[in-house]
């Protein structure tokens, strides 16, 4: 869609620089790569906060209204209609801390917004994880095959990637939404899609968002396959599968993980945008984007219907972005960066020193 994301930024960066142009400098000797990455990641405050917030939202969303038929601890679900309490205004308060009957308020017909928001967050997280998993696997396999085998495999796979990359996601989502919406036709797929709209949407969006990942992984494989350790493995008789899985993939996994995370943060925005435009999650089921779209007209009278779902989108997306940033810092070999403060600190004593020597000189005279 029109909104740039971190993922696109990374793609552009990689396209410009060419991947993996600097070998890693290990400042911490005696540690395995995994240990270094872990150490760096847990040293990244933003990523830790992001992780904590995301875990909190995840637990809240999945335990409160229940999932897959298992009831949650919250007394309403997203479809229950109950009498309006205080004209549906939120009952949660900070001073004094209170939870109340309907913490996030109710909509016009009395549905509990907390339950709806939790349900929506659940849907968004499910879709996000599905997209991440499918796009990650497809991107790794296709990019890896293209980058490792080169030749016609690469040509075919990359042309397919090029075709998919320019087909607008909106159109594809609309087509899926239409097919899922055809209740009259009773085909197997339509019936399944009706029952599991979220799964279909997630799988489907995953099937179209692997393209960026595939390009990145291919680039990684292209550089890695020329490295000495791959030659060594090949000379000692390793099979292609062994080289790919044992030698190249572990080295490319950093790029993959980081970008899967960023794909996931973009996926949340994509899902909410599609639901907002009416081609994503459909009513009576709910999603964060759909909630906003349904309630934007009511902003003047019931602003909370608009605030809470939006807040949750931003929180989920923000925490994923911070986790992604932490992962990128952890995997990025180019860690030592220019520091203007350090540079000016280094300059300052030099100036003082020269002045001092000049002064010393005059004194000596």
């Amino acid at each position: 869609m029109s909104q740039p994301t971190q993922e696109e930024e990374i793609l552009a960066q990689q396209a410009v620089r060419g991947p993996g142009d600097a070998p890693p400098e290990h400042e911490s000797s005696g540690l395995s790569q995994g240990q270094i990455v872990r150490k760096r990641f847990f040293g990244h405050t933003g990523a830790l906060i992001g992780l904590a917030v995301f875990a909190l939202i995840f637990i809240l969303a999945f335990t409160s209204v229940g999932v897959a038929g298992i009831p949650g601890w919250w007394k309403y679900n997203h479809l229950d209609v109950s009498p309006l309490v205080g004209d549906g205004a939120p009952t949660a308060g900070l001073v004094p801390p209170a939870w109340g009957e309907h913490p996030f308020g109710q909509d016009r017909i009395g549905r509990d917004l907390f339950a709806m928001t939790m349900r929506g967050a659940q849907q968004s997280i499910t879709i996000m994880i599905l997209i991440g998993a499918i796009a990650g696997i497809l991107g790794a396999v296709i990019g890896g095959l293209a980058g490792y085998f080169r030749g016609w495999v690469e040509a075919v796979l990359m042309r397919i990637t090029d075709v998919i990359i320019i087909i607008p996601v909106l159109l594809l989502a609309a087509v899926v939404a239409q097919i899922a919406g055809r209740r009259d036709e009773g085909s197997m797929f339509a019936a399944f899609a009706n029952a599991n709209g979220i799964l279909v949407l997630g799988v489907f969006l995953g099937l179209v968002s692997w393209v960026g990942l595939a390009r990145l992984v291919r680039g990684e494989f292209l550089t890695l396959r020329e490295r000495e350790f791959v030659d060594a493995a090949r000379i000692s008789g390793a099979s292609n599968a062994r080289i790919i899985f044992k030698h190249i993939l572990p080295n490319a996994v950093g790029v993959l993980i980081v970008n899967v995370t960023l794909t996931m943060s973009a996926a949340i925005l994509l899902e909410t945008a599609l639901s907002y435009l009416g081609v994503g999650v459909k009513s009576p089921d709910t999603s964060l984007g759909l909630l906003i779209s349904q309630n934007q007209e009511a902003f003047a009278t019931r602003p909370w219907l608009f605030w809470f779902p939006g807040l949750f989108i931003v929180l989920i997306c923000l925490s994923i972005n911070f986790i992604g940033d932490g992962l990128r810092d952890a995997f990025d070999p180019r860690q030592k960066k220019f520091n203007a403060k350090k540079a000016s600190d280094a300059n300052a004593p030099a100036v003082e020193k020269s002045a001092a020597t000049a002064f010393d000189g005059t004194k000596g005279d």
Binding site: M1, A12, R159, Y276, V314, A340
Partner: protein, 513 residues
Amino acid sequence: MVTYIVRRLVTAALILLGASFLVYLLTASSGDPLADLRASNAPNKQQLMNARTELLDLDTPAPIRYFKWLAGAAQCLVPFAGTCDLGKSVSGQPITEALGIALVQTLTLVTGATILAILIGISLGIVTALRQYSALDYGVTFMAFLFFSLPIFWVAVLLKEYGAIGFNDFLRNPEIPLPTALGVGAVAGLLVAVAVGGELRRRLITGGAVFAAVTLILIYFSATQWFKTPGLGPVVIAVAGAGIAVAVTVLVAGLRNRRALQSSLIVVALGVIAYFAVQPLLDQATALMIALLGLATVLVGVAVGYFMGGYDRGQSMRVAGITAFLVGGLVVMDRFMQAWPSYFSNSRVRGRPIATIGAGTPNIEGDFWVLGTDTFTHLILPTIALILVSLASYTRFTRSSMLEIMNMDYIRTARAKGLSERSVIMGHAFRNALIPIATIVAFDIGALIGGAVITESVFSVRGMGFLFLDGITHIDPNPVMGVFVCVAVTAMVFNLIADLAYSALDPRVRIKA
């Protein structure tokens, strides 16, 4: 080089063919284009259905229809023949015509937003890179992540509520109570104090000055009802112009180049004189006249720079030219502000100037300035929304590019030579950092044409995104194909341009022929 371009173009054409076939089939198979008629109770239902079937050629299977469409579209490749045929939409409008209208709408919407986002994003990126790990850097980084995470439709609705409805209510009685003025001033002062860096004392002094200035200005605005009859006036233009002159000189030439500073200050003086001279002329302004005046302004500036000369004549000319352009902008802005009261009380606007939907007030009448103000009030909210969501990527990208450059050996060399920090940053680092940025800017310009589907639908702008979405909801392949082909072709061409520009800007990168 030529082989490379030809190969890229041929590949692109093949990809486009494949993708357009898929897009056509997908759109055509996504539903029943007659669904709304089937459900209707109109007496002439069958007739309507037949008419639409004929219009869209629905009796032909979709794959064959695609090739018919392709035959029509291929005629567009013949230059100047005027036989371009992209089919007709459900309502019978030729797609070429609809595309033309939509393109204008989209470009007026996104061009300004993109340019501003690029300018602000790049400057923020540079400043944060130079102050890495400062409070400003952390603040901007957090904002960037926040903007990455904002759903644009949510921002748009918030902007409508507070930017349009709230501000319009405020304009009805534009008085700022003293506590609000003090509060806004305090926030501004605090932000500046955090951002400015340096010692605590310096921060406090700057923050305090900003606090006093902002508060006083707000009180002044409130007392004089400035928001009802805004304007800059010659004094503000002179003071702001002097500030601009100094700032431009600092950035482009350095304050030690006295000739450059003098020429830019002369330009400001000329601008204030011109302010009085051109007022009668501006009353009959047209777009062409403003463009010509702008050109003349820059030329005068360059001429002043040329005659002042100095040890670096080119630098003086550049400084004076840029200053002249900016001061000219101030004068035009002042004239727009003078037109504000008449726009405000226009019978179509009725005192609620900031619009929430559309690209212009329907049937509004007025001179150039009133119409210009009208476009401005309609564009401001979508523009802000677009800037917010696209700012972050430019900031982050420039920052990382700049940080990488600042680590280069040639920067150390430049410092070691004893160059001033200004010429190290502006001359050596910034120019090289711009190379990768040039490529993403080219990508983004390529994507501009596609419009912003969500922004357009929230603000009801009938641009390319709207056309596309409308085609999808009506199961109408022709508009979808029209938009898709436009977008895909520009995106591919600009990708090619980006690659070529990269190798032209950075000779180390060679294109594999």
